[in-house]
Amino acid sequence: MDKTVSDLATAVAGIEDGMTLMIGGFGGSGAPIELVHALIDRFRATGSPEGLIVINNNAGNGRIGIAAMIDAGMVAKMVCSFPRSADPRAFTEKYRVGQIGLELVPQGTLAERIRAGGAGIPAFYTPTSFGTDLAEGKPVAEFDGRMYVQERWLKSDAALIKAELADTMGNLTYRKAARNFSPLMAAAARLTVVQASKIVRPGGIDPEQIVTPGIFVNRIVEVADAQQEETLMRAGVAYG
């Protein structure tokens, strides 16, 4: 079993118009910039994929990564908890004129809905958002005298995530706080695509230290010198 692919274009093959796409990372920490840019490259060359629903904690920063996808016109809707950033122009401009949709989800609910998608739990109850505008239209129920909101799982057609180490079977580790949503998204997507800083042979990662077991991973591409979104953003880089 070898899940490695040789290049970024192959890694993101099969992500098509109208799909729901989870993208790992919290701000720039864990953002799979190279995979996202590979998808933008394809869009520029072929006009596809467009009309994507993108799930990420944020909605892009500057003119790179998810922001560059939005700028390019590939994103129909964001599902996120915090569509603001140091430089939120890309999302804000399109949102103000109704050219992009937004499903705003509390951060813990977003994480738990993705976790539920991967774990086969179609719905769960949370105290979060009870009595607020974000619970509007959702079923509520009382348990042990306290009120809770019913939330549904989130799944996706594909996930793009960034790992530190991967073995060829897809077992993954992450780097520091870059872990964030990625292990959850890996489990919740039909097609999980990983860019790893280094790919090792099976057994090259201690079984105790694997964070995402390979069963949740479909494709791995090595990106040895991955760029950091925050660094690019601070340098004023625009993609394309």
Binding site: A119, G120, N171, P207, G214, F216
Partner: protein, 223 residues
């Protein structure tokens, strides 16, 4: 009808349908035997409920590490690329549809796909383990079983009489006599022992066996 496959032969047959690289959970007991019969060149990744992926054979006696066991509490070893995880993550794999195949034993399988394999009734101490999760999680749920009970009654039935493990969950049954698919809530015969007549097979089966296309010969080596 004295000729039938041994348990090892049933396990061998089931193993032929497991693709290279498939993620597989084998129920405790008889189904564990399937792992021995992977065809050359194919390597499945075996999952055990208690938090290990890609485990291998039992270690030699005396070399057991009792922190490294499978769901049947037997000592196991690891293959390269193995991973440990906790029970909630383990059943996220199961319930979340990440396993390609689960192979379980059965007391009864009904033509509507219902499975009974955890309780023989109100006597004794009930125990369910992970079976009820497995039948609703894996992409393909197969059963391996003798075709009839020890006293000769059919195990493939119209409707289960014993307490259910899952509703409409089984899609293929490997027995000591035949390979039967469950499609649209009916048994469809795919393979039978070459010398066994359809009439004799039907007589030991508790619901109608449909035929849809050719019936293959169930030919299994001595194993």
């Amino acid at each position: 009808m004295t000729e039938k496959l041994t348990n090892a032969q049933i396990a061998w047959r089931a193993a032929q349908d497991i693709a290279d690289g498939a993620y597989v959970n084998l129920g405790i007991g008889f189904p564990e035997m399937v792992a021995k019969f992977q065809p050359p060149g194919r390597q499945a990744v075996f999952h055990t409920e208690n938090g290990v992926l890609n485990f291998g054979e039992s270690p030699p006696e005396g070399e057991e590490d009792w922190d490294l066991i499978n769901a049947g509490k037997k000592a196991i070893t690891l293959k390269p690329g193995a991973a440990f995880f906790h029970h909630a993550d383990s059943f996220a794999m199961v319930r979340g549809g990440h396993l390609d195949v689960a192979i379980l034993g059965a007391y009864e399988v009904a033509e509507n796909g219902d499975l009974a394999n955890w309780s023989t009734g109100p006597k004794g101490v009930p125990a369910v383990g992970g079976a009820m999760d497995l039948v609703h999680g894996a992409k393909r749920v197969a059963v391996i079983t003798d075709h009839v009970t020890k006293d000769g009654r059919p195990k493939l039935v119209k409707r289960c009489g014993l307490p259910l493990t899952g509703v409409g969950c089984v899609t293929r049954v490997y027995t000591s006599l035949a390979v039967v698919d469950i499609e649209s809530q009916r048994f469809v015969l795919r393979e039978k022992l070459p010398k066994l007549s359809l009439d004799v097979l039907q007589a030991v089966t508790g619901a109608e066996l449909l035929v849809d296309g050719t019936i293959g010969d169930l030919i299994v080596p001595e194993v």
